[in-house]
């Protein structure tokens, strides 16, 4: 009988622990893949559409969503940027601390003027960065472990590229990898959580 009580106690104890742990992990888990402490994507230094070199430090205090893409793309890039617009809308007043940075993997065609016009169609506060030459693009992609490749199509070429969005906390630390398929609502919840973290 005493043994039975002891076993019961142990079971209750285990269950309690499980509940507490799951509550903790619920609070600590993001919808996106958490990559806190990642050894890559530490920083960038690239000219924006106005020719000014921008770095991560320029956006301290903001959650930065960084995306590699190209604007001659009819599909994934506008979808990802439209999602970012939606995230910002869902964040309400907090949206002012959400910054979208777009790095083109096709600087040959994506010249500053067209990149600016393109981003303006989504949100004028979106920052477009244009690697000045192939070597800089290559080094930047390598620093972020991002894949890109030029693929000829019948008439011109297209770009295969990593469609993950990298998210930085307000201290400028890389925290999340957001897959292309993740919805705006979950994305916004993750951003809100980063914005709410103790400074």
């Amino acid at each position: 009988m005493g043994r039975f009580i002891g076993a019961l106690r142990r079971i209750i104890w285990v269950l309690l622990c499980a509940v507490v742990l799951s509550a903790c992990s619920d609070r600590a888990s993001f919808h996106a893949q958490e990559i806190t402490g990642a050894e890559f994507g530490r920083d960038f230094a690239l000219p924006d559409t106005e020719g000014q070199v921008r770095r991560l430090a320029d956006f301290r205090g903001e959650v930065v969503a960084l995306y590699f893409g190209f604007i001659q793309c009819p599909d994934v890039c506008p979808t990802a940027l439209a999602r970012a617009v939606e995230v910002k809308r869902l964040l309400g007043a907090q949206g002012e601390r959400f910054r979208v940075v777009f790095i083109t993997v096709d600087p040959e065609r994506d010249r500053p003027g067209v990149v600016r016009a393109y981003l303006d169609a989504f949100d004028p506060t979106f920052v477009g960065l244009i690697p000045p030459d192939a070597a800089t693009l290559e080094a930047t992609a390598k620093a972020f472990r991002v894949f890109y490749r030029k693929v000829p199509t019948g008439a011109s070429y297209t770009m295969d590229h990593t469609a993950t969005t990298f998210v930085y906390d307000p201290k400028g630390k890389l925290r999340l990898a957001v897959p292309h398929a993740m919805g705006a609502t979950q994305f916004a919840e993750d951003v809100a959580r980063l914005l709410a973290e103790a400074p």
Partner: protein, 170 residues
């Protein structure tokens, strides 16, 4: 429902008619129905965009290409995610649609790619588009439609495939 015009290749008609006596039949309805065609707006300097639509085939057809006054080059493309990478490819043999099937050309999948735009495609514009199909008996079929232009910043349909992609490896 979009109004559109279907033109069958007359020569093919005559040849098939002579050989078979019965051809791909005088359709009471057009062999394909196109619904909800739209083109994503562009900004000046942007060289390409996509046209999206739904195609219902009443007989087996293959979408092999197209023509439009707004772009010199039209290709049928497929976008797909391979892990965390986006890939876009021209479909070398076109897009086959079985009899009775409906295929959606929509963001995240197939699209008609309009390439080398000489000027921007703007909201409010109607884009004339001729889609070319082939039928199982080798006929060519041209379908004329007009696609409305929708804003660049518009959300496509949310992507339906669940699960998280593979993020970068630590």
């Amino acid at each position: 429902m979009t109004r559109f015009v279907v033109r069958r290749n007359l020569l093919a008609w005559l040849v098939v008619g002579a050989v078979a006596g019965v051809t791909a039949t005088a359709h009471a309805q057009a062999p394909v129905t196109i619904t909800d065609p739209w083109v994503r707006a562009t900004v000046p300097g942007q060289k390409a965009t996509g046209a999206f639509l739904q195609i219902t085939a009443h007989e087996a057809v293959t979408l092999v290409g197209g023509k439009t006054p707004v772009a010199p080059v039209v290709e049928i493309h497929e976008m797909k995610m391979v892990g965390d990478r986006m890939q876009m490819r021209a479909l070398p043999n076109g897009l086959a649609i079985g009899a009775g099937q409906t295929v959606a050309l929509e963001p995240g999948g197939y699209h008609v790619m309009l390439i080398d735009l000489p000027k921007a495609v703007e909201v409010g514009q109607k884009v004339p588009l001729t889609l070319t199909f082939t039928t199982t008996n080798g006929e060519r079929l041209d379908v004329d439609i007009e696609a409305e232009v929708r804003p660049l910043g518009r959300m496509g349909r949310p992507m339906s495939h669940g699960g998280l992609g593979h993020g970068p490896q630590r």
